[in-house]
Each structure stands twice: as structure tokens, then as C-alpha cells.
Symmetry: C2
Subunit: 197 residues, 2 copies
Amino acid sequence: MAGKEIEKLIKTIAKLPALGTRSARRIALYLLKNRAQSLSPLIEALQEVEKNIKTCAVCGNFDTDEICSICASPSRDSKTLCVVQDVADLWAMERIGFYKGRYHVLGGVLSALEGVRTEDLNMQALFDRVEKSAFEEIILALPATVDGQITAHYILTGLKDKNIKVTSLAQGIPMGAELDYMDDGTIQLALLARKPV
Amino acid sequence: MAGKEIEKLIKTIAKLPALGTRSARRIALYLLKNRAQSLSPLIEALQEVEKNIKTCAVCGNFDTDEICSICASPSRDSKTLCVVQDVADLWAMERIGFYKGRYHVLGGVLSALEGVRTEDLNMQALFDRVEKSAFEEIILALPATVDGQITAHYILTGLKDKNIKVTSLAQGIPMGAELDYMDDGTIQLALLARKPV
């Protein structure tokens, strides 16, 4: 049907998250029809990322340097460490611009179902880092799932001999949400953690 | 937040059809995390397409040669020409493997709303081609929209002095469809075009 180069491109695009063969075909056609405005800039942007972006040796963030700008910044609070599952979560935290401490990217959470063990994560590096640094608080910003909670518990156990405050993000009703649309677990949690106004 | 290379990649991906900033971010992160299995093969596939794929000088299809394999094939019926809006439609026709004639890709349909004029389409080339070739039937496989029908009418007018049969795809109830879910226009059309069984 289409040449083997186009077929190969469609197959490669279809493997990306959130895309199937149909949308991959649409994207491939769009790129072919808009070479100058679309295909060449995409190749260039991908090559720049391939060439320049490194994984930070300290926290696991992506940046152009061996040590990322957050880890290298002298103005960020070195007493607080926020543990996140993924770089996407780090970006989400940074978008708010409220948190001024450091990060540690685990690269996933423990999962019996998906066979993710501590060796598969950036976990030992976390304990080593805590050992060497003078953190006073570790914020576990892990997903509010079973796997996320098990991972949080594993980290808590590993840190229990250290004299460090370990906290986690508050759970409850998200801003702007209608009670009626919330799941029962969240409502119960929010009720248990109720506060005087 | 993320480095400017990553931001640029996210912006470039977000411009592709069916993708927004959120999915672009997800894809960029996926590529960064799976460099060997994903980023490099994608760059390679895109470069191969950029280097090798050309637009067929005769019909407007994409292929590795100046004249595409369908136009160059001596075994395809040279008396029938199928006019399609887009290469995607040509691919759809070829997937069925039923049609054995030639194609002409318009690259769009006339649209007053979107400002698409005949000069913007591969239209003059169609008339020139019909002039020079010995087509006996021209099948207008254009979209069943107002713009598609106006385009079909324009082509029909342009060909009215030629002694060529011009046909269009049948309209009616698609296979497997429930009457209840069909729009009124389609039902009316199918009723008007009813056939003895």
C-alpha cells in the first residue's frame, strides 16, 4: 500500500503512548504533506533532545547538564527533598512554582503485578543520598494508589532509624470538585481528616 | 521547568494532528525514558521518509520514486481513474484491493469557508491528465460533504465536453449499521436510491 519507509514510520509512531495505528497514519500523512513546516522541525527537535538531554546523576531529572539545574541551584532549599514517581510529576510540581526544595525521581513505584522491584527503581540512590546529605524533611509525593502507598511505606521503613521528618501530600477532595462525583474512598478519607474552619 | 530542548520538542509534537500539550508531554517523556528502543528508531524512520519519499508527479501519491508504483504499474487498468481527496483515501481504497485502476489525488476539496480554491488543489493537472490519456471512466470518490459535492460538480462541469463516463461512489446505509442510529439525510437518500432485491 504505502511504501515500506512510510509503513515503518507509521509503526514507529503507533508505538508511542496514547497513539494507535489510525492516529499514527494521520500523523505520518500530515508530516509528509508538511515537510518544511513539520517533518524537518520534528527531526531537528528530536535530534537536539537526543544529543543534549541527560539524566541528572543526582536526582534523575532530565536536563542538558550532568547535574540538573535544580540540583545545581544554590538558591534552592537543601533541607527538603521531594520524592516523586516520574519526571512528569517533578514538572507538575515545578509548574506551581511553590516548592523550593530538591527532588528525587524514583522512575516508577514498586509493583508486584507489573514486577517492579526496588532494584528497578532509583531507590538505593535515594537512601545513599539521604545518608550523605542533611535533609530535615522528606516529602513523599507518590501516587495515591496501592502501589504508591506500598512504595511510600518501603521508603518510610528504610528511613526509620534516621532522625528525619517524613511527610506525604494531603489527601482529600480536590479543588472545584463536586462531592457527588467523588468516589467513596476519597469522601471517607476527607471526612476522617476533617479540620476545624 | 524542563530544558528548552524538551520544551521545543513538546511544542513540535503538540502541533501534530490529534495531539495536545498533555499528550505531547507524555510522548516526549516516553521518548526520553526509552532512548534506544524509541527515540533513535523514530528519528531514523523520520529521516528515511524525509530522504526517500517523493510526491508522485502524475497522481500525487507518496512513494520512493518520482512516478509512484501504481502509476508505473503496467498491470493496472489505464481506462479508469479514481479521483480522491487525499493520500489517506487512496490508501483506504488500496487496503480493500478491489479497485485496479489509476488514481488522482486532489490534495483537498474546494471550500469557500476555508478559502480553498481550484489553484490550491491538484485540479488543473487532473484536466490535463484526462486530456492526454484515454480514460473511459472517472470515479469521483470524494467526501459526502457539501464541499466534496461542490468539488465533484466542478470536475463534472470541467469534463462535460469530453466523452467520458463520470461516476461517484454509491451513497446509502453503511454495512452493519442500525437504521435507528443513522441520520435522517442518509435514510432519505437510501430510500430514494432503493433497489429491487
